[in-house]
């Protein structure tokens, strides 16, 4: 791709001549159709007001720019008086920037600012009057809770920052902004609590973000390979994407770092540990005994979702002696009637289940339900009746599928691991399962993100952190001793 003309004038300073400035701006933007230039004369001074169609609010433009300027025109001021009024005495907008170069001018125009250029003044006043269409704060869809907060991040960076700030009204909460993406010039914000998050990690993240050479950054996934230090080495990700501000604030309080991306409702939290996937905000609304029970259910669900189909296949095929006699007879009767070995049946059903799940996700909600009915009831029932698959195996698949929905953040890892364990169990019995388990443990243990082990606080052992892993620490206890993700 050839270098755009815009890149050549990025560092060029604004000229004193208005016409030249307008010509350069137009040419830099390639005479784009959405550039609005309104020329007016105030006293004897030629002015131009620049904005991008749809990015700036017409109403704010009229109220905050045109109206004060036209009323000021009655005084017939000189160019210097106008610029002095705009710079020092005007309260037209809360977000006001004085710009001297074309690069910043164009960047601000594309961010929804209106720029006021005056003849014989080599500067521009940019006013933040953003008016682009944006989604309002709504209920989180991917991370549902029963009693937690109901708001979620949106696609607008500033809104997301305010959602965090509203919950953490402390000067220790700090936001740092940077821009990533050669074409998208996406605003990225790093939020952290000073004294809780490691300064070294913050600097490292900032460096990594600034070294990204991507053209566009359109969602959190674009940044993950750059921020995740074990992205290609592990099946698990030590970064979490959240759309819940309350989750983000809890993580910030634990010394984690939040990366907010403009244009994406998913914000990245890092570094996260394996146990974070088993915690929800609901745990902190329930009594500790129930929260602990709920956590154990989630751990059990993870094991079921990953291991159950593989174990079932291995036991049925190679180690049937472990089943109690009655169960063994039932299983034998069911399996003898099917034409395929259990490993093939299991793989077929698992792939079929994934296809139906994918279809359910992509289709509109009204049709998604129909897919479940077709898949779950009709195909499942027909498969058993026709003798293609055995009934116990269908039960195992159903249990596994349900268990995997308990942990949405681990779903990609669970899906792949499940297939690996089915293949390992189907071809090597429990020996295969043992080898696959060893590899899985190696893989989990190898994830180390910004000095925090993924298996922390269990390995390496941090006794204070453990209380919030297997049970839910009480608020009095949390108030007495606060632990962060990097604490020893």
């Amino acid at each position: 791709m050839s270098e755009p003309y815009f890149n050549n004038i990025k560092t060029e300073l604004l000229r004193a001549d208005l016409k030249t400035n307008l010509k350069i701006t137009r040419s830099a933007l390639g005479d784009t159709a959405d550039l609005n230039i309104i020329n007016i004369t105030i006293g004897n001074t030629e002015c131009a007001i620049l904005s991008i169609e749809g990015m700036a609010s017409s109403q704010l433009l009229a109220e905050l720019v045109f109206e004060p300027l036209t009323s000021y025109a009655e005084k017939e001021p000189t160019a210097n008086q106008i610029i002095e009024m705009l710079e020092k005495h005007s309260l037209m907008s809360t977000d006001r920037q004085l710009v001297t170069d074309f690069g910043t001018l164009i960047e601000l125009l594309f961010s929804g600012f209106a720029a006021i250029l005056l003849d014989s003044i080599p500067r521009a006043i940019c006013l933040g009057i953003q008016g682009f269409e944006k989604r309002t704060v709504s209920i989180p869809e991917a991370e549902q809770t029963i009693s937690g907060a109901r708001d979620s991040f949106t696609e607008t960076l500033r809104t997301n920052m305010s959602l965090v700030r509203r919950r953490l009204k402390t000067p220790a909460l700090q936001f740092e902004l940077c821009k990533v993406g050669k074409l998208s010039v996406t605003d990225i914000c790093i939020a952290h609590i000073e004294g809780r998050a490691s300064t070294e990690t913050i600097n490292k993240i900032m460096q990594k973000l600034q070294s990204i050479e991507l053209d566009t950054v359109l969602n959190a996934g674009y940044l993950m390979p750059f921020l995740d230090e074990t992205y290609n080495r592990s099946i698990f990700s030590a970064l979490t994407v959240t759309e819940r501000p309350d989750n983000a604030c809890a993580a910030l309080n634990e010394g984690k770092i939040l990366v907010i991306i403009d244009g994406s409702p998913g914000c990245i939290l890092l570094p996260t540990v394996f146990a974070d996937n088993f915690r929800t905000m609901d745990d902190y609304c329930e009594k500790p005994f129930y929260a602990a029970f709920s956590r154990w259910i989630k751990y059990a669900s993870f094991l079921l979702a990953v291991l159950l189909p593989g174990l079932y296949t291995a036991l049925v095929m190679f180690h049937p002696e472990v089943f109690p006699l009655k169960l063994l007879l039932n299983l034998a009767a069911a399996e003898v009637a099917t034409p395929y070995p259990p490993v093939v049946e299991m793989l077929l059903l698992m792939v079929l289940f994934e296809i139906m799940r994918e279809a359910g996700v992509r289709l509109p909600r009204s049709v998604g339900g129909a897919v479940s009915i077709v898949g779950g009831l009709i195909i499942g029932d027909a498969a058993v009746k026709s003798g293609m698959v055995s009934q116990p195996l269908l039960i195992v698949v159903g249990m596994t599928a349900t268990a995997s929905f308990v942990l949405p953040s681990l779903y990609p890892a669970i899906t792949v691991l499940r297939l690996i364990f089915i293949i390992a169990g189907g071809f090597g019995g429990l020996y295969g399962i043992a080898v696959a388990s060893a590899l899985l443990i190696f893989n989990i243990a190898a994830v180390d993100q910004y000095g925090t082990a993924f298996t922390s606080p269990l390995l390496p052992l941090r006794p204070h952190g453990l209380k919030d892993i297997f049970s839910r620490a009480g608020f009095r206890e949390l108030a007495k001793r606060h632990t962060t993700v990097t604490d020893d």
Partner: protein, 355 residues
Amino acid sequence: MTKQKISPAALICLLLCARCFTTMTLFPVGITGGLTYMTGALISTVLQAFLLIPAAKLAARTRKDPCTLTFNQSKNFGKAVTLTFLLYFIYEAFRDIGDLAYFTDYFFAVNMTRVMTVLCIVLAAVYGARLSISVLGRTARITFAGVIIMLAIIAAGAADDMEITRFDYAVNNLPAEIAKAAYAEFSRCECLALFCFLTSEIDGDPEKTAKRYLISKGTIITIIAAMVTSVLGTFAFAEKLPVFTLAAASENLITERSDAVFLLIWVMTGIVKLTTLLYCSARCLRLLRPATSHIGSVLFAGLLPTAAALPLLLGYGWEKVIYSPRPVAPIIVLALLIPAFLLIVHQKPATESEV
């Protein structure tokens, strides 16, 4: 990049996994009774406490492994010591691979040839050995927790069949039998050489670690021996995979037998042991040939024992290796003599920068 350290607890678990694998695979041959074996194991453990003193003191003083220290003394001496360690680790890896493949084939009807069994286990171990020692430590801790859970399940299921009289107290020549058991137990302690090699990498006190390791080792071996011999009696010493035989008789509310749990954990301890041996072998190889890449050295370390074990496994000659006596001399040389010599040489306390 800073060198990754391992916690004392993780090193203890790593060594315990290695030791448990050997104990669970086969009890020493020719021992007359459970009580004799347990007494011998405990006496052997006490003796090992004296044996490990030089290695622990050396690690505490220098924070370097014996191979690096000998290389600092003299290049040729360093090469000789490193080669001795390497050969011993490869020999142990050879036995580990062979035992895993042979017993898996012998006891568990899996749909795999011996070549496939060996390949699976070696590739898994190579994958693990190319990671850092801290990762091995974390894996070992999880695996050792599995060992404890497995033993609890088996013990709970076989509790009805346990009888203290099966320890068989009647022995003709008690001192000789106990000495034999202590010697047999000592010859199976390849973990002492591993301790000597790895103890410099811990972020704690090596002397305390040695003490805790030996106490844990003595306890776990006694527990395993007590569990098995209280059910199987003297037959435990004639059985291959004695814990498997016990697990097969252990019933619980969910399963008829617990041998599946045993297989799962036994293979995992085998993998942890093999991974540790390959990790140490690879480090020795890199000391001998610094130009070797990390992955290259691990692959080579995996290839040597595999190539040695496969012909015996395929030719059905592994039985001879199983019952062949384990050499004691390398353990004494590697875990006692070399560290003792280096300790004498390094009488001077290490400077701040060395630590």
